[in-house]
């Protein structure tokens, strides 16, 4: 479909991803105030200006290092299914905890929008968030919203629109590690790039391999075999 884009919602448990999903799509995916509620992927669509967006609600996780099935589902979607935009939903009232996942996503993929939800709750608690400073530091657009009260939606949709149409470009900040790790990344990164091309961040993959992420390696092999089969059958 032309002018159709896939937007994945990622974030910690209980940050309002499903509330945002429902508010955008008009669907009634079950929302609830407990962790681990979204176990499979829910999909819905929203139209804005001349474009159609397919919204995918990923399971809420604190991390994307495949410690559990939900994390694996979310990670595989972001890395292998490559949504046009990954919307990282953060809880404005506990940014410190939430930014961990945001930084992980920024390492994995380029087109990211950080969406700070529950902004009205935060303001009630006297928390003021300067989204312009955050945008500058993270290298991706940061938008403040309240999914429950539909605050900030025009800004969010416009930001998505400008990102997919190429009016704005993301330059996600990359975490710098110790000298030893950085050296090892440099050693294997070019080799990784020659194997997987530019479809997956070679820096991220290098880090995962250095961390000994065998589950990811297995996932890779599985997908390579599948691709081969598809090619042979074609």
């Amino acid at each position: 479909m032309i002018n159709s884009y896939r937007i994945a919602l990622a974030g910690n448990p209980n940050t309002g991803k499903s509330t945002l999903f429902n508010a955008l799509t008009g669907l009634r995916q079950h929302t609830g105030n407990w962790a681990g509620k979204t176990v499979s992927l829910a999909e819905g669509t929203v139209k804005h200006k001349d474009k159609t967006y397919q919204i995918i609600d990923l399971p809420g996780t604190y991390s994307l290092f495949s410690n559990s099935v939900d994390e694996e589902v979310a990670r595989n979607y972001i890395v292998f299914e490559k949504p046009d935009v990954t919307l990282v939903v953060l809880d404005a009232t506990s940014l410190e905890r939430n930014l961990n996942l945001a930084l992980q996503v920024l390492e994995m993929t380029r087109n990211v929008i950080v969406c700070i939800n529950l902004i009205d709750e935060a303001e009630k608690k006297g928390i003021n968030i300067n989204e312009r400073i955050l945008t500058r530091k993270l290298g991706v657009p940061v938008v403040k919203i309240s999914a429950r009260n539909k605050i900030g939606f025009p800004m969010l949709l416009d930001t998505i629109d400008r990102l997919v149409s190429g009016t704005i470009e993301c330059n996600p900040v990359q975490t710098t590690y110790s000298e030893e790790i950085e050296e090892k990344i440099t050693t294997i990164e070019s080799k990784i790039r020659s194997l997987v091309g530019n479809s997956i961040s070679s820096r991220w993959l290098a880090l995962r391999l250095l961390d000994g992420d065998e589950a990811l390696l297995n996932e890779f092999n599985r997908r390579l075999v599948l691709n081969d089969q598809v090619r042979r059958e074609a």
Binding site: Y62, S63, F65, N67, T93, S94, E96, R97, N100
Partner: protein, 83 residues
């Protein structure tokens, strides 16, 4: 006078604030704890202990998380004074 006040999270008393200095765990459990906010430099509060002293609930980056003795013994830090 410098006095060493290094303790494990398990040794903390209710109400203690402990600044984490090291996590002697490996693999998935280490990763998980880091994701939950048990990172070096973070200040953790001992909220309460279960009747038998294990598990213990800690306050870490604005959330309460309970840890078993197996894990809390392996996280070390320094006592921080309340002020």
């Amino acid at each position: 006078m410098v006095k060493s006040n290094k303790i494990s999270l398990f040794q903390g008393k209710k109400g203690n604030l402990i600044k984490i200095s090291s996590i002697s765990l490996e693999g998935v459990m280490r990763r998980r704890l880091l994701d939950l906010g048990f990172v070096p430099g973070a200040i953790v509060e001992v909220i309460k202990k279960s009747p038998l002293g294990d598990p213990i609930a800690f306050r870490v980056s604005q959330t309460t998380i309970a840890l078993r003795k197996e894990e809390s013994m392996k996280i070390e830090g320094e006592l921080v004074n309340h002020d």
